[in-house]
Each structure stands twice: as structure tokens, then as C-alpha cells.
Symmetry: C2
Subunit: 370 residues, 2 copies
Amino acid sequence: MTDISKLGEFGLIHRLTKDIKSQNASTHYGVGDDCAVLHYPDSEVLITSDMLMEGVHFDLTYITMEQLGYKAAMVNISDIFAMNGDPRQLIVSIAVDKRFSVENIDEFYKGLREACEKWGVDIVGGDTTSTRTGLAISITCIGEAAKENIVYRNGAKETDIICVSGDLGAAYMGLQLLEREKNVYYEQYDALTKKVKEAKKSGNQENLAALNNDLKALNDFRPDFAGREYLLDRQIKPEARGDVIRQLRDANIRPTAMMDISDGLSSELLHICHQSHCGCRIYEKNIPIDYQTAVMAEEMNLNVTTCALNGGEDYELLFTVPIGDHDKIEAMEGVKQIGYITKESLGAMLITRDNNEFEITAQGWNPLRE
Amino acid sequence: MTDISKLGEFGLIHRLTKDIKSQNASTHYGVGDDCAVLHYPDSEVLITSDMLMEGVHFDLTYITMEQLGYKAAMVNISDIFAMNGDPRQLIVSIAVDKRFSVENIDEFYKGLREACEKWGVDIVGGDTTSTRTGLAISITCIGEAAKENIVYRNGAKETDIICVSGDLGAAYMGLQLLEREKNVYYEQYDALTKKVKEAKKSGNQENLAALNNDLKALNDFRPDFAGREYLLDRQIKPEARGDVIRQLRDANIRPTAMMDISDGLSSELLHICHQSHCGCRIYEKNIPIDYQTAVMAEEMNLNVTTCALNGGEDYELLFTVPIGDHDKIEAMEGVKQIGYITKESLGAMLITRDNNEFEITAQGWNPLRE
């Protein structure tokens, strides 16, 4: 492993960016000066930025540096699609503490590049620096869209149909699964180290040797993810739904409002209702949920609808379309109609399977709430 | 003080951004959706991004949250000027731990806004989140420039004159001063707490009471900054040199290469030489140094030229102009000609006051070096 201090900031930047080739005509100048230079004469420039902090947004016992790079890029690319734009450039800032080697940063960039290549995005700049403790990542993504094609959160109209791509709650169940397996490991580890202490005290050498062997064997601990791969993938390798954006364009559908689901369906629905000055009615039976999500929720004694409503990080698209587009959406693979937009005075309501009505409240992920 | 968890992410964002009014025609849509929407039909878009981490880039015992907001915005605005651009928008990401109150974030934004108002910059988005420990800030600044006006680092030509705005080394001396006063405080504090411990051990109540009074009096410790205000200002409240950019435009001077001095003069000179494939000769006697910087260096037994060459954070402009502009620059207030560009094979040289030649090496601030 190579110590980062051997390269220094400029050596590291050179290593990370020397092979980058720009793919977009809008990228005039990338890494290497005080600013990147972009050119957007015929369209609007979309910009979004996200900060990811170790211990809050990710846990390096669950996710590799490569996966983290991929995810960090994808969740920002997702925000560009959520405006009906096309992602073009990425600016990457990363601050590392002394635990990290040059190779760790290489892996992070490998993941970044994979995500960027998937959607034709150029890495055009950023900052590489150090932190006292913990890994900090800040990504800015730049995209473009013709003015008339941009979809905001505030355009939903009464009678519009509410649609969701893919399925919901899986990323959240993936996280639950990861935390469960981490706990299983630490329970075994804690129990063993306690026994080792006792054996040391009592001087039982034979027992101590056996216990130390058990501890060594624990290094081979493999979490039990069999049959749960989809949930893990959804948590660790989210995909921005540019494919859905293309489908909508091909079908000549222009959503009236749209956003990506990062904090949870209920939270995002309330954003659209609030900004569009409308209400909504969504139907529990229509919320798309994968089989593995349902099984896992059952196993963990969680209400699967609650998971789908409030679990974050699915990065699916939530959008509204005029009622006239009903048949086109119906014909579309992987998009579900979950309800419709109402007058603001009717509130945001969930209709359960047994026909009860509940007001939707935002209980999604909020890093600044206790 | 208001607990941030009372407001949550969206409440906090609303509080911070509700009064923001856009000033620029290029700002089509600011805070409130998945992306900000900008419009640059007739110019190039300049983008720069910087990450500032507590304990690495700033120390909250030296700088208030308001000053930090001002500085974080200014150093990014400075990068836009360094390309001969005009700053237009700012995206602000901040991650705080439990020490921070809503009022702390208000103060940070107050400083941000002051810097932005100074240069007509709109705050158009960002991220507000939490961190396990420490304050993390990431700022992205967007600006514009006509293609033919952009000044890169790579355009310096043989015989060009090398110029520097303002004076150098003061921000570094300001930091030395702050650290010295912090040490004075902690030395007194440590000595007193040691004596308190001893008094407790020996049971000397009278002595203990006197010592506790001394400890209380230490709360009123005021660092000795008299006559050093300029150095502090340079460290804590740096100014982006947009005024120099305007002077240059008014005088019809277009630099051939330019950057801002954030890591130190020698480091930045080497960037220009490296990217322009040239060498340089600069003269020690021409490096602009303020009187306070010189006095302070003397007092601390530091070589003032070394401080000016390698001290970072001055945010002055370093630029090269064709030799034909010599008289125009000469007539300019606050800009010094420090040397000239040579053939690459001649290297980057400093000519000392006693006419010795030294090769310039980058010893400026590098957060990833030990």
C-alpha cells in the first residue's frame, strides 16, 4: 500500500486524472487549472451537489471504496435525470484521513469512472485533501436540458397520475440486512473476547488456545446474504434511472413534476404536493415492492409498506403525468401508477389495502433529526 | 441556542435560504429542486470547487463561523477571478456535528452572504447534513467569461513579465501569530491546572481558592494582536482580487497566464512554468511584502522571503503579461513586477538581494504531505 504523503496533493491528482479523456462537446477544459471550463450555448445548465460523510451516509464495513465511488457518482447523476436532464460533467472532492492509501483512492476513482462511463459523464475537476478523521466526499454534477424540457417539482396538476419507476424499499431492507449481519459478527466477537479474558484470568492455557483458534476462525466470517443479493445491490450499487427518462422521451411523455426518491416516497410526495400546491391519493396496493423486500420485511417483523414509504436510497423516479398519458404509461415496462393528484385541501393521503385512509407524513431519512 | 434537530434538514434549508433573491440573469432557478438551473448562452461556464475540513483548513478557536463563511466563499470566488471570469453562483454544502446550533449555521450563512453580495454572486443550492465529528464545508462556485477572455495557467511566453497583486506572506504570518497566542493561553492554562492539582493533593484550601481565581481570570485572556491587525485580517478575512481584474480590463491588459496564490508563490510559479513549458526569473527585492509581515517575521526569527514564497492563503493574483504592457503595469496601483518568463531549460530561479541564484522549489502548503 502506498502512503498518500509520498505523492502529495499534486502527485495524487496527476495519478487520478491523467487518463481522463473528455467525451462531451460541452467540456472545454477539465482538470488542471483554477476552474473547469464548460460551454452550454443552446441549453440550460443543471447543477446539483451532494455531501457524503463517513459514519452518517456510509459505513466502510459494508461498502468498498470502489462501490462508494460508484454510488457517490450515481446519486448525483440521478438528480440530473430527476430534472429530465442529461448528465455531462462531475466535480469530485474527497478528504481522507491517515487510514487511506493511494490504492484506496484509486479504487474510489475506479467506481466513479465506471458510473461516469455508464452515462457519458466527464470528470472535470475537484479537490483532494485531508481530514482529521473520517472520509468526506462532495460531488457536484452538471447536466443540460432544453428549457422547455426541464421538469421541476412544482408542476403537478389535479387529476395527474402519480408514477413510480422500479420498486421501493429494497435499498432500505438491504441496509437492515447489512446491519443485522454486522451485529451477528460483533456478538460472536464480543462473546469470544470475553471468554478469552476469563481464560487468561483463570490461566486455562488449553482453553485459551482453543478460544484463540475460534477468534481466528471468525476472520472467515461470511455474512449470510444468500437469496438476498437484490437487496444488497439496491443498497450498495444504486442505479440512476436514465433508462426510464429515455423511455418517457421515446413515448413522448413529458412529466408535469418529477424528483428522484432518495429520502423515501412519502417525503418526496410531500415535496411535490407542497411545491405544486396540491394534494394526492396513493394506493398501498399499487406501491411496487419486490418479492425479496417483502420476504425480508416479514422476517424482520417490519411493515413492508412502511419500508417502501419511508426507506430511502432507492433512487427511483417519482413523477406525475397528465391523465391523458394513462395508456402510454400502462404500456411501459417498469413504471407503476400508484395514485393521482388532488386539490391541496384534500391533503396527501394513503389508501390502505383494507380501504382505510391515512395522512402521509414524512418519516424518511433526515440526517439532521435525532 | 436552537438545536438543529428541532428544525431538521428541510426546516434548516428553508430558514437559511428563504430570503435569498437572485441577482444574476444567468440564475434561472435556485434552491428548492433536485438541481439549480443556470443559463449561459453567450459565454463559457467556469466551475471550481473547494473542500474545507475542520482541523486541517481551519481552527474554530481562531475564526468565527461568520468569518469562516466569508472566507469559504471568497477563496472560491478568487478561483473564478483567477481565470479572468466573473463569479455568478455559489453552491454550499455543509456538514455539522452535534456541537453546532442553528444560530451557528445562521452566522456561517451571514458570512457567506456578505462575500456573495460583495461580488454579486447568487447562492443557488447545496446540501446541509450531519457529520460524526468535525465541521466539513464544500463550496462550488460558478462564473462566466467570454471564450477569448479566459486566462489559463498555460499561456505564459518567454520575455513575459511576471506580476503579483497586493503583498505576500501576511496571511501566513497571521496564522503564526494566532498559533503563538493560542500557545501562550494554553501554557498559562496548563501551568495553572497543574498547580490546582498539587494544591488539591496537599489540601491547601487557601492556595486552591487563589488558583481557581487565577483560572477564572484566564477566561478574560485576550491575545495580544496590537499593531498586527493587518496580518490577522489577511488570514481570517481574505479578499478575492476582483478589483485587480477590473483594473486590468480597464487598462486593456489581457494576462497570458494567471492563477491565484493559495498554496504559496513558489508553488504557483512552478504550476505556471510547468503548464506553460517555460522557466522564470524572479527577484527577491521585488517581492511585495508588507511592513507588518516583515516586523513579525523578524520577531519570530523567520526569513521573510521564505514566508512570502511559501506561505499560503494570500489569494493575491499571480499573472504574466507581454513585455509591451510594462508601462501600463508600472502605472497600476497595487501590482508589482517581480521578474520575467524565460526558456524552460533555464529553470525557475530566484535572484536574491545579494545576487545569488536559487532554484525555486514548491514548499507551499500541501495537506497531503506530512
